[in-house]
């Protein structure tokens, strides 16, 4: 559509996907490029509205490395599975809040997941990776959970990331909360609260180290989370083989 060498840069700029140097260079270019100015005006409304799609969650500093690892793994799986593997499923409502503009340090739980109802999960090691990531498959026992639902815990360097697929949304007014179960038997609360995207999938980082943690539990809790579980665990995943 345009002969401008930066024709596709406006989108990346509006999404905060340029480095600081690239963003500065684009801003200089923008002052003199009518085409890119037009792109900015056309796309900025959509980019700004993304903030209404998810609630704000402060990401732990180590999360970036774990996301990179998971995305690489998913990309490899999707390439192996073919183009139909990632087709969106039918719509389901999900509840989202606000996310600040250009949230470099924030992670939306849009990428997070969960929906569960009385699950107990046994862990099966699916495999390790050259980067030292071990993925434990969660076995879902609760019949009311969406058929085809699955969950897995990826453990890298003693830290975990829980992923779910094809899970229902949490009940209205509730979120899913991750708990850590140690040898003592009493689950410890975390600030890992999540919902699921409309296709029932998502990923949530398990805060802190898994050292001394026997299992990861997930329950449905009132919005904002709880200090003690108010319902039975919906999902549990071991943290070791």
């Amino acid at each position: 559509m345009s002969s401008c060498a930066s024709a596709d840069t406006a989108g990346a700029y509006l999404l905060g996907a340029l480095s600081d140097d690239e963003a500065y260079a684009f801003e200089l270019h923008l002052s003199a490029c009518v085409m890119c100015q037009h792109d900015m005006r056309r796309l900025e409304g959509a980019a700004g509205a993304l903030g209404t799609a998810v609630p704000t969650v402060q990401a732990p500093p180590e999360l970036g490395m774990r996301i990179r690892s998971i995305v690489r793994s998913e990309a490899e799986l999707l390439r192996a599975a073919g183009p139909e593997a990632d087709r969106p499923r039918s719509r389901e409502r999900s509840r989202r809040g606000l996310l600040p503009w250009r949230p470099r340090l924030a992670l939306g739980t849009a990428l997070a997941a969960g929906a569960l109802a009385g699950l107990v999960v046994g862990a099966i090691v699916l495999g390790g990776s050259p980067s030292g990531t071990h993925v434990f498959h969660a076995r879902i026992l609760e019949a009311s959970v969406t058929p085809g639902a699955s969950a897995s815990l990826a453990v890298t360097g003693g830290r975990g990331t829980l992923s779910v697929n094809h899970f229902p949304s949490p009940p209205r007014g509730k979120v899913y909360e991750v708990w850590l179960l140690g040898p003592g038997g009493s689950p410890r609360p975390t600030d890992a609260l999540f919902s699921v995207s409309s296709n029932g999938s998502g990923t949530v980082a398990v805060p802190g180290s898994l050292r001394g943690v026997r299992e990861i539990l997930v329950t449905a809790e009132p919005d904002g989370g709880s200090q003690k579980p108010t319902s039975s665990p919906l999902l549990a995943a071991r943290t070791y083989a």
Binding site: G11, A12, L43, L50, R68, L107, A110, L111
Partner: protein, 62 residues
């Protein structure tokens, strides 16, 4: 808005989510997905363009 985002083609939704929600740059996303940087930027632009059109159709305002 979440529904509009979820209805995007998966490859466009993914690059938007990784950039906007997870804070990765286009070069980092290209590296993760092993696709060219230009493809990442193109998907971002196409995704935002579709979101804009669907927002107009759905009456979503900012």
């Amino acid at each position: 808005m979440r529904t509009l985002l979820d209805d995007l083609p998966a490859e466009q939704r993914r690059v938007i989510e990784l950039a906007y929600f997870a804070g990765f740059t286009h070069t980092e996303i290209a590296d993760m997905l092993t696709i060219p940087v230009g493809t990442v930027k193109g998907r971002m632009r196409l995704g935002l363009e579709k979101l804009r059109l669907r927002m107009e159709i759905s009456g979503v305002t900012t």
